[in-house]
Structures are given as C-alpha cells and as structure tokens.
C-alpha cells in the first residue's frame, strides 16, 4: 500500500521525507544523480536555473568578443578568436542539452532569457572597448569561470558534471590564449601597454564579482552545497582567483587596480579591497552599460531567424509526407 501510494504520484509527507533522505544519502555517498532518477522538485528547479543561466552566459558571451572578430589585428589572432567564440556556442549547446534532461525545452529556456525571466552572467554587460579587452576576458573572465566550473565536474548531477569536463578543458585553453594576448601587448609598444593596463583596470573588479555576493548574502548557497551542486563558497573561490591572478599580473608588468591589495603571510593569501556590491546589484538588475543592447541583439537575432526555423520545420514536414506517399 505504501509503495502503491508512491507509484500513483501522491506520496504522503512521510514517504517524501524518506525519498528525500534516500536521495541525500546517495549524494553523500558520492553516487551521481542521473536524468531518470527521482529527485526533489527543488533540486530539479535549482539545476535548471543554474545550468540554463550558464548556457545563456555562453550564448550572450559570444557578443562582447564577437565585437572584435572583424577587427582582430592579425590573422592568427582572428583564427584563435573565431575558434574561441565557436567553442562558446558549443558550450551553450551542451549545457542546453544537459538542462533538457531535467524536463525543460531549449525553446522555453531561450524564451525565458528573452523575456528577462532568466539571467546570464553580468560580466557580459560590460563593453569590449579595445582589443586588450579580448585578452582580459580570456585571462580574467574565463579564469574566474574555470575557478567556478572545475568543482562542477564533480557535482552530483551526472549530465551537468560530464558537460563541464569538456567545457573546462576548452576554457583552460581560452584562458591561456587570453593571457598570451595580454603578454604580447605587455611586451609591445607604450600604446599597447597602456591598452593592456586599461583593460585590467576595467575588468578586474567585475571579474571578482563573477563569483557572486559575499557568503553571508548568498541566498542559494547552503542547500546547493548540501546537494553538491556547489562545492565551494563564493568567497573561497574569489580568494583563489585573486591568489592565482596577482602573480600573473606582476609577470605582465601590470598593476592590479586595488590599493588595498597586499600579501598576508599569516593567512597565506592576498588581502584585497572592498568590492562595490552596489555596482554588482545594479548591473544584475539590468542597469549595466550593455544590458539592453546585449538582450536586444539576442532578441533581434531570434526574431530575424524565425522564418528560417519555420521553413526548416515546414520542409521536414513536406519531406516526411513525400516519403510516406512514396511508401504507400
């Protein structure tokens, strides 16, 4: 009787508790959750939010870098940038597919993005004003992204974890390419060096904001950690990013735009200045320099492509009808 109640989809509160406990036990034992497994509705929703937000970030993230494809200053750099942007679109594709295993369609996710119901990483609401910004995005933005994403290769949801393995490999490559671009500028003419410093000045703080609000203010953290879809806190990851990046900036001969930055031998970490969270929340709310433009570009691409998508469906219908007629 008890089992029957579960099967009919109207389980008692006690049954749900037992099911959730078994689910949590599986996670605690390090066993991956797969698409066909039972999962709490909140786990499913949280993952859909997280994975689709990640997918949208890849797609919108094509735009600031795409801004420089036509102006890349050497054919080699142009090829690297084209390949990188293509990788981002590919990441978007796997991530949408991973989210689809949770019972949401790609069209629904895209619609949520265009309607402003879903978010993407706020970093892409900053403009790429010079060529050095392409390097800074690779070095700092992809650097922060990797820091966030490497732990996700071990997250509890199988399809997401597996997608992240490939994404991380490519992102690591992008970060090295970004750093290499910055190195060429740092070793270049005074104008190129100034371009590199200016890019670091503008991208440093937004890159640190990418890890999200301080741990005390983070709304999703505790439950996500219990579910192992978040393995480190925002502040832990941010500290790792600062510790990793400061020596890299020094090697480039660039100055990190933070007067409070200094090595703390006792902690074994860099201390750094206060982040302007007002700016962060303002950009999240839609008031960054490029929020409107980015979303409008995506909406226009989608609307302009409507005839294309409709025609492919219509052709597939005609082809199927012809095949049926032939067979009959």
């Amino acid at each position: 009787m008890y089992a029957q109640m579960v099967d009919t989809g109207t389980p008692s509160a006690a049954a749900v508790d037992a099911q959730e406990a078994r689910f949590q036990q599986r996670i605690d034992d390090g066993i991956r959750i797969e698409a066909q497994d039972w999962m709490p509705e909140r786990y499913r929703r949280t993952l859909i939010r997280q994975i689709s937000q990640h997918a949208h970030s890849e797609i919108v993230g094509q735009l600031p870098e795409g801004n420089w494809i036509t102006r890349a200053p050497s054919l080699k750099r142009k090829a690297i940038l084209l390949a990188k942007v293509q990788d981002e679109a590919g990441h978007g594709l796997y991530l949408y597919s991973a989210a689809e295993t949770l019972g949401i369609s790609r069209d629904q996710m895209v619609d949520d993005l265009h309607a402003g119901r879903a978010k993407y990483s706020s970093i892409f609401n900053y403009p790429t004003l010079t060529w050095a910004d392409v390097g800074a995005i690779g070095w700092l933005v992809d650097g922060s992204a990797i820091m966030n994403q490497i732990p996700l290769c071990r997250c509890s949801y199988g399809p997401y974890a597996r997608a992240m393995i490939r994404v991380c490999k490519e992102e690591a490559f992008h970060m090295r390419q970004g750093y290499d671009l910055m190195l060429a500028l740092a070793r270049g003419t005074p104008a190129q060096q100034a371009m590199a410093q200016d890019a670091l000045n503008r991208w440093w703080w937004p890159s640190l904001m990418m890890f999200g609000p301080p741990d005390g203010d983070s709304v999703h953290s505790a439950q996500s950690q219990a579910w192992k879809i978040k393995l480190f806190t925002n502040d832990e990851l941010r500290q790792k990013m600062v510790d990793q990046t400061v020596p890299q900036a020094e090697y480039l001969g660039l100055t990190v735009p933070d007067p409070d930055l200094k090595w703390n031998a006792e902690r074994g970490h860099y201390d750094f200045g206060a982040i302007d969270w007002e700016e962060f929340y303002n950009v999240v709310k839609g008031n960054g320099p490029c929020n409107r433009e980015r979303l409008e570009t995506r909406r226009r691409a989608w609307d302009d492509g409507e005839w294309f998508r409709e025609a492919l469906v219509a052709h597939a219908g005609k082809a199927a009808a012809r095949a049926t007629a032939k067979a009959a």
């Binding site: 870098e65 080699k76 142009k78 084209l82 570009t297």
Partner: protein, 252 residues
C-alpha cells in the same frame, strides 16, 4: 600591387577566402539558430585557414619581408584581388546563404582543377581546402533546398537573394591575361571551362529548391580580380585593418 602572374593568382585565391571569411565573421552571435551560429563561424574559420595558406605562399612569392599579415592588413582596396561576389554585404541570412552557395559551387570546381596543378605548393593547398569546401557546398546546397522548398516566405527570401546576387556569377568565369598565363604554365585553369559544370550543378539544386534560375544576360559586373571593386570593400577593409594601420610596426 604589380607582380608576377603567380603572385596575382595567389592573391586572388587568398583574397576570396579572406574576404568571405571576414563577412561571415560579422554574423558572430547573431545567427538564426545556435547550430547555425556555430556553422557560420566554422565556415569562416575554414576559409580563414585557407586564406592564411594562400597569402603565406603569396608573401613568399612577393618577397620584400611580406607575410600573411602585411598582405591582409596593409594593402589598399585597389590591391585586393577577390571576386566581387564575396565582398557583397551579408544582408539577411538568405542573402548570406545564397552568396555562400554560389561561391562554394564555384570553389569546389576551381579547387578540383588546382589539384592537378604543376605547382606543387598550390596543389597541396588545394588538396587541404577541397575537403573543407566540399563540406561547405554540401551544407549550403542542403540549406538552399530546405529553405527554398520550405514556406512561401522562405522561398521568397531566397529567390530575392538569388536575383540580387546572380549577376555576380559572371565574373567567376571571366578569364584574363593572368589566367591565360597560369593555364599555359600548367599551374591554373581556364575560368570559362568551369561554367557549364557550375550551371548544371546550380540549376539542379535550385530546381530541387523550387527556385527559379534568373534569366541570362543583363548586368554582369566584374573587375574584382583586377582590383576594381564595389564600394563595399573599402569599408570592410577599413574595419578589418584598423588596428595594424593605427599602430604601425606593432606586433600583436
């Protein structure tokens, strides 16, 4: 840029790939579907790779410290040798697709001829490029058929694009003294000799796509191969070349 016929020939091959790649790069992040965004970038990347091979070979021929980047970034529009077709603006997706299809159908025939070139370096690049271009042609032909024979709206958009771009196909088959010399030396081919095969292939695809082949005759713009371009190229180059031009001597 005055130079040997071989240099001119290599610039023509390289500039076609470079300029079309540049146009496709403008689509980044704005395609009609995510898969198409990836495909446009992929095609742009293949063509850019081909352009780098042709232009590096051209730079060897030119000497004087030229390299792929000086050729791409420091020549003025009158020194570019690409076909007028590839510099035409992207327009909407239908225009971009039809331009690609007309070019792919020509490039696959042209590269096949170059496989037999007496110039080993040219034959080697053609061998690499033809694999990519054969795939581009399969893709663009398939999409022309699916979108031509899709909805009334998609058919109208493709037909309008075809009518606009059709006059530019004449230049693909118009030879000059450079072509004649390359043919005589066993390096190149006679452009006019490709016309029948091209027309036959294009007609078959357009028929399957339920599109109408535009009528013969009329306006036949040409001159791109000799450096006489449309107004579009100057603006394309102004954008492409801005950084190396504004930072003379800088390395990137």
């Amino acid at each position: 840029m005055a130079g040997s016929a071989r240099l001119e020939y290599l610039l023509r091959l390289g500039d076609n790939a470079l300029i079309l790649s540049q146009r496709l790069g403008e689509w980044c992040g704005k395609g009609p579907a995510l898969e198409e965004d990836m495909a446009l970038t992929n095609t742009a990347l293949d063509l850019l790779g081909q352009a780098r091979l042709w232009l590096s070979l051209a730079a060897e021929e030119a000497g004087d410290g030229a390299d792929e980047d000086t050729l791409a970034y420091l020549r003025d529009d009158r020194a570019f040798r690409n076909l007028l077709l590839v510099e035409q603006p992207n327009g909407g997706y239908a225009d971009t697709l039809v331009r690609q299809f007309l070019f792919d159908a020509w490039a696959s025939l042209a590269l096949r001829q170059l496989l037999g070139s007496s110039d080993a370096a040219i034959a080697a690049i053609a061998e690499k490029a033809i694999k990519e271009v054969s795939y581009h042609l399969r893709r663009s032909s398939d999409l022309v058929v699916r979108l031509g024979d899709g909805t009334a709206r998609s058919r109208a958009l493709l037909q309008a694009a075809l009518d606009t771009l059709w006059p530019y196909h004449h230049e693909l088959f118009t030879g000059d003294a450079v072509d004649a010399e390359m043919l005589a030396r066993g390096i190149g081919f006679d452009p006019a000799s490709l016309r029948d095969a091209w027309l036959s292939y294009v007609r078959d695809v357009l028929a399957e796509a339920t599109l109408t082949v535009p009528s013969a005759g009329g306006w036949a713009p040409k001159g791109g191969k000799q450096g006489l371009h449309s107004e579009h190229l100057g603006k394309l180059l102004a954008e492409m070349q801005v950084l190396p031009r504004s930072h003379p001597g800088a390395r990137w």
